[in-house]
Amino acid sequence: MSTSTGEAIQFWILAVVAVLGAIGTVSMKKAVHSALSLAGTMIVLAVFYLAQGAYFLGVVQIVVYTGAIMMLFLFVVMLVGITAADSLKETIKGQRWAAALCGLGFGILLIAGLANASLHSFAGLGAANSGGNVEGLARLIFTTYVWAFELTGALLITAAVGAMVLTHRERTQRAATQRELSEQRVREGAQVTPLPAPGVYARHNAVDIPGLLPDGTASELTVNPTLRARGQIRDVSGERLAQLAELEQRSENWLERDEHERDGGHRANGVNSANGSNGGGQ
Amino acid sequence: MSSFPLLTVTAVVPAVGAIATAAVPAARRTAAKWLALAFSLATLVLAGVIAARFTPGGARYQLSESHAWIADFGVRYELGVDGIAVVLIGLTALLVPFVMLAGWHDADVLEEHRPNRNWRPTQGFFALILLVEAMVVIAFESTDVFLFYIFFEAMLIPMYFLIGGFGDRAGAHSEDEQAKQRSYAAVKFLLYNLLGGLIMLAAVIGLYVVTAHQLGHGTFSLPQILQARAAGQLHMSTTAERWIFLGFFFAFAVKAPLWPLHTWLPNAMGEATAPVAVLITAVVDKVGTFAMLRYCLQLFPNASNWATPVILVLSLISIVYGALLAVGQRDIKRLVAYASISHFGFIILGIFAMTSQGQSGAALYMVNHGVSTAAWLLVAGFLISRRGSRLITDFGGVQKVAPLLAGTFLVGSLAILSLPGLGPFVSEFLVLVGTFTRYPVLGVIATFAIVLAALYVLVLYQRTMTGPVKAGIESMKDLRLRELVVAGPLIALLIFLGVYPKPVTNYINPAVKDTLSDVHKTDPAPQINAVAKETAK
């Protein structure tokens, strides 16, 4: 007995997607990308479940896995942020080779094993699912596997409690008040005033565009260090200065002035530009 | 078969003693010593009771006790003694009190600096000695191979601590150098014997497999196995029997020790205090030779006969080699150790000569070697502790300042060179005759050793005791009362065993007879049986 052609087509297409997703999970540099490709793979798997008559699992796969668990992953990714761990450079000697060897060997063995397993005929789930897939599962869960089910309950509770215990931090002393914090900041000689806002002289004041100092260089303080670490800063001061120079040129051509006036005018321009920048900032 | 578990009690008493001694509070160490001594004496009494209740020539294993233990593996808690075991239990129980008396102050060195409040080296020392005694006794008593194996191995643990923890401080080196050598010796002792034990374990399992195959139910019980073989239910295949035999023999040869597995003994005996050294060579090592006689020969008769030539040669090498090296030693205790190696060679030679003289001689030799070495080495220990050195060259003219010490030492020495009239002569001559009747050449070669023995013993005596008084000897004290109490009875015993060994041979002979019948051997008959003709007339 064989499956429908439709399923075959679906399989061959989605299988490729699943594998690509899996490879992506392993090989993407950034955790977020890995997470997304994993999510992709999981959705594909969900489809496969549905295709194989595991309707309940298919749905659960999407809701629980792709929904809840992957979101949890993403939370943690955000929480942890960017780390040196993301680099793909190998640090343990010979690890790559060993991994490759074991991985290949294992995979080959598995596939060989499957190959010479006699699985040519298969009994579909028609009979099993006759009373509905969910009911079938339910019957089994609450009869044969009820004890295991109860245990999973206990397991989940334990896991929840465990997670809380692990992540919970006991506050040893009273939280510092605003006042104390500010005093401490002054004592340490740290930045007392709030950080300067980004985007001065910018075409728009987005968080990823640093503010400029009067001499036109970008200020480190105006952008989030995480963005900087991720290399997600758009540094636009260069083009902006070019625009200024061009504007001056045009004004010179436009109203001929004496040399001395031009100097004054030039100075005035500088001042104006400074004011303008302030204005633009607000 | 009496209802009262005499054998168990005999083994348990010293064990309890060990616990009690260890429990004595740190401040009361003298009390601990006396307590330990009391327990060892109680054990001696019990050993006497065993000897009294045992009827020589009666059933092969008497006073037996048998309880299922690990039923799934056919392991039983089975005790029972034959004549040889009785004698050796007696020897152990007899020597331990002397060892304790001799080592009365051995642990005091460690008392000086007490790292913490309940620092109790003295209690530990005596408790360990009692523990060794308990284990040795039960090893002699057990007739279940597995039970025997357990204690055969377990006795390494207390011995390890006795060697490594309470070594003597008379070495020629600095304090920490000594500590290094002590631990080296202790570890060497442990590793050698563990190796032997593990190989034996494999053999033990092999035995179980074989019995399980052939009898349907695996068993370790010596009587059951013998019975099954007698009934013809058990036929080990030749190869299996040989391999298992080798596994057993290797362990026993290490323990015994047989050349070339002997090198742990000189280190161990050199670094341990004299009493502990006596415990090693006179008590613990006897388990090895005893086990050869009980397990190797009785369980694997054919394999024993198969291996006999090699073993005889090895033992012969041990005899001559040990004696020659003893001549070459500069350290008194190492000399004793090599002498012991030579003597163990004699014991093994006697066992595998497969004649009643040889084996009775070997069994008797175990006793005599125990007593004589104890007498010799304990006195040597007194000597060493006085001078604070083990090097022969540090002594000289002791006889002038401490005649009693010299005298007792001389008697011990004469016993070691097996002078007629002292115990060892009888056994050594029996071994030689027993060997000669079957293997004349080996017998003759072995006899050369009596000259070598005279050489190393007398050279040692001459260098240490005679001649002008050396520096550091002048103020040497003669034996104290405690030390006389150690040396005197041992010497008396040596003389008794030398003049009237009959009481002991009465126990030994029947057992030997059974063993010989196990290996299907009979004494070679003389060409002309003069005695028979005389009686015929």
């Binding site: 699943a18 594998v19 392993v26 793979t41 479940y49 194989q52 896995y65 992953f73 640090t91 334990t158 | -």
Partner: protein, 99 residues
């Protein structure tokens, strides 16, 4: 087509996941790879269920999911605490051994 292909796929995914566990240093990604392996197993279970025509395989997959959920919760919590204490999410930094 024979459902066995699903099994081949599962084997492939499992192997890839395993490789990821061995290669990646970022604890989170390693963890994801573990999830991938679990999913591969699930796929296999479901397929077997279909092959044998009973639902026990699916039950198993179901339990796997539950366990996976629990495991993820605890695992991520561990990662977070680890990150707090070490300011790193690298599994290699967990090694305190001197070589």
């Amino acid at each position: 087509m024979n459902p066995v292909n699903y099994l081949y796929l599962a084997a492939l995914l499992f192997t890839i996941g395993g490789a990821g566990v061995m290669i990646r240093r970022n604890a989170i990604i390693v963890f994801m790879c573990v999830e991938l392996m679990l999913n591969a197993c699930n796929l296999a279970f479901v397929t077997f269920a279909r092959l044998h025509g009973n639902l026990d395989g699916q039950i198993f997959a179901f339990f796997t999911m539950v366990v996976a959920a629990a495991e993820v919760v605890v695992g991520l919590a561990i990662i977070v605490t680890f990150f707090r204490s070490r300011h790193s999410a690298s599994v290699d930094d967990a090694s305190l051994m001197k070589l």
